[in-house]
Symmetry: C2
Subunit: 359 residues, 2 copies
DNA sequence: GTGAAAGCGCTAACAT
DNA sequence: ATGTTAGCGCTTTCAC
């Protein structure tokens, strides 16, 4: 057992000072009923004077609840994650929980074990922003019966609750917007295969093409990895084709930044010679020159909702299989315009769109 | 007491299965000596089969250590913080700790209490990236005798250990660089007064001016708040003066972004008509058009070092008053050049400078 | 090398 | 409205 920390104030000290039992003190500090008003006052006063702070571990051991929620992320890199974290911290705070931030790193075997370890009694619930190889994580998590919520991912393999955006609809709308501007050859840069949302966005792109009666050309679709550099590479390939696209859709903003860099390098004017769009609407996208047209994904709200769902689970609700899909919205800025050689062609019907410079 | 979770594997289960006492199991799992090799093997095998994960709260209660470190931040907003968080998570992970992310919010009275509460037994050590009104926090923290480390702040009022960058030197070097380019009227946008580093950076600016034999003009120095918008406002004021500066130093990158926006709005070419520099070197600064010249502050490393220092304190070292100052370095990109009307003037001695496009 | 007993600080359950 | 008892799951101490 540990050496007694003589400085630290305990429940028993308050009990002694106030002339009541520990139990009464406990009741007072937990705002429970059945305590006489003046007893309560006295206890509170003493607790305050002594500067008492409850001992989290002891309480956790006794109640079986840590009042902590774990957020598991692959690595801390992008603003994308920052938005989610903001939402998560705000909501955990509001609901009286604390956030444990866990990076799963590069997901080697021992790191899985590490995360498993953490889940043992450390947190009451888990939020997952999935790393590359999601499957093993999902299996691991579904084995534990901790309330767990997946953020921004789609999986048919596990039955865990999820919070995500309307990826398909958002991308469909954006593709439709480009088509309405007059674009007919639209390049597309995919994200990472296994993450589910990648596929959804591609579907949206395909549906919008089909709707307009356009063919789907494999050659216009490139594989990216959500990093700026892959956007740079993929767009180079696309733009050096015999018949290059007049618009390029990157399936996240970071890759769109890469496309912008390529366009800059090739001396292409944006949007006169090339339209570019992203997905996410991270803060930087508004600061780009020119500011990036993109699909806003409500990452902050997704973070908040995920926490709510997890807490619901912690409090006993059955959340298994629950899926929450939040709407996206187009943010039309300045990287999109009429296709080159089409400057005179009429625009038929632009959807009602709101400009958003929320930086 | 809580209802017994029948599913969860306990130490006692392993003890039963392996035919030893709990104590032996405990020893094995904590890698302690004095256990026969085959006993150890057997225990490990059983633990593995049963999928045992230790109960964090119980262990914490018993040892008096939670193996968690709290990171207190005002609010999750900027990339600035993201870099620090990256460093902190990487190092906590490496040292076998977990990170609890605590937002102090807008620092009203009850939120102070909230944070105090959290410090009671929840974490073994605390890292502080200070919110606006730092003083009360500092007092609060120094009252508790938890190992605490302050990141990117300077204070003479408390004796807590600190990790920060060489703000004065960095800013001095940058100002000197502008002077060497030929700039004589250099505007300066300050950060938030009370945070200490703000003052240091201003000192660097002043020293470089004095060194060059220039006067310090109050009118060239404006009050900002580290947000882009204040950079926009302050630079407007500066540029509308009778004799506007030919260069503007923003004491962080976000404000420099605001200055760039203003320059853009006024139709000023960068850097031909106005040189702009920032401080921090957050990832976005490399993506600006043109890419921002700035002072690199090793935020990631500061996060790591802060963790190391806190852990040293947790392990019993005396860290009070320890101060670690990490070097900065100039990152010369494309927002700086010769002052207007000075295009023909020779540049005397440019310091050896490395270009950094680390995006 | 191993085990038994005691206790970390708190709260649930059952008194009164 | 308040107190007593027992125990959360683990580790420390001390005995063997």
């Amino acid at each position: 057992m540990s050496k007694v920390n003589s400085r630290k104030i305990r429940l028993s000290h308050i009990a002694d000072q106030a002339g009541v039992s520990m139990m009464t003190v406990s009741r007072v500090l937990n705002n429970q009923a059945h305590v006489k008003v003046d007893t309560r006052q006295r206890v509170l006063r003493v607790a305050n004077e002594l500067g008492y702070t409850p001992h989290a571990s002891a309480r956790a051991l006794s109640t079986g609840k840590t009042r902590m929620i774990g957020l598991v992320v692959g690595s801390i890199t992008s603003e994308y994650l920052l938005e989610i974290i903001r939402g998560v911290t705000d909501e955990t705070r509001q609901l009286g929980y604390n956030l444990v931030l866990i990076t799963s790193g590069h997901n080697r075997e021992d790191e899985l074990t590490q995360v498993t370890y953490l889940m043992g009694g450390l947190v009451d619930g888990i939020l997952l922003v999935l790393p590359r190889e999601a499957d093993r994580f999902l299996k691991l998590v579904s084995n534990h019966n901790l309330p767990s919520v997946i953020i921004d991912h789609r999986s048919n393999e596990v039955n865990l609750p999820m919070v995500r955006a309307a990826n398909r609809e958002g991308m469909k709308e954006m593709t439709r917007f480009l088509i309405q501007l007059g674009h007919q050859r639209i390049g597309y840069i995919k994200g990472i295969q296994g993450d589910g949302t990648c596929h959804e966005r591609l579907l949206g792109y395909q549906e919008a093409l089909a709707e307009a009666g356009f063919s789907y050309f494999e050659e216009l679709v490139r594989q990216g990895d959500y990093e700026a550099y892959s956007g740079e590479i993929s767009s180079s390939e696309l733009l050096l084709m015999n018949e290059p696209p007049t618009a390029i859709i990157a399936s996240n903003d970071q890759m769109a930044f890469g496309v912008m860099a390529t366009a800059h390098r090739l001396g292409l004017h944006i949007p006169e010679q090339l339209s570019i769009v992203g997905f996410d609407n991270i803060p930087s996208s508004a600061r780009m020159v020119p500011p990036l047209t993109t699909v806003h994904q409500p990452l902050y709200d997704m973070g908040r909702e995920a926490v709510r769902m997890a807490v619901a689970g912690i409090e006993g609700e059955a959340i298994t299989g629950r899926v929450m899909v939040l709407p996206t919205r187009l943010v039309i800025r300045s990287t999109t315009g009429l296709p080159r050689d089409k400057k005179t062609q009429p625009i038929y019907s632009l959807p009602a769109i709101q400009e958003g410079m929320e930086s």
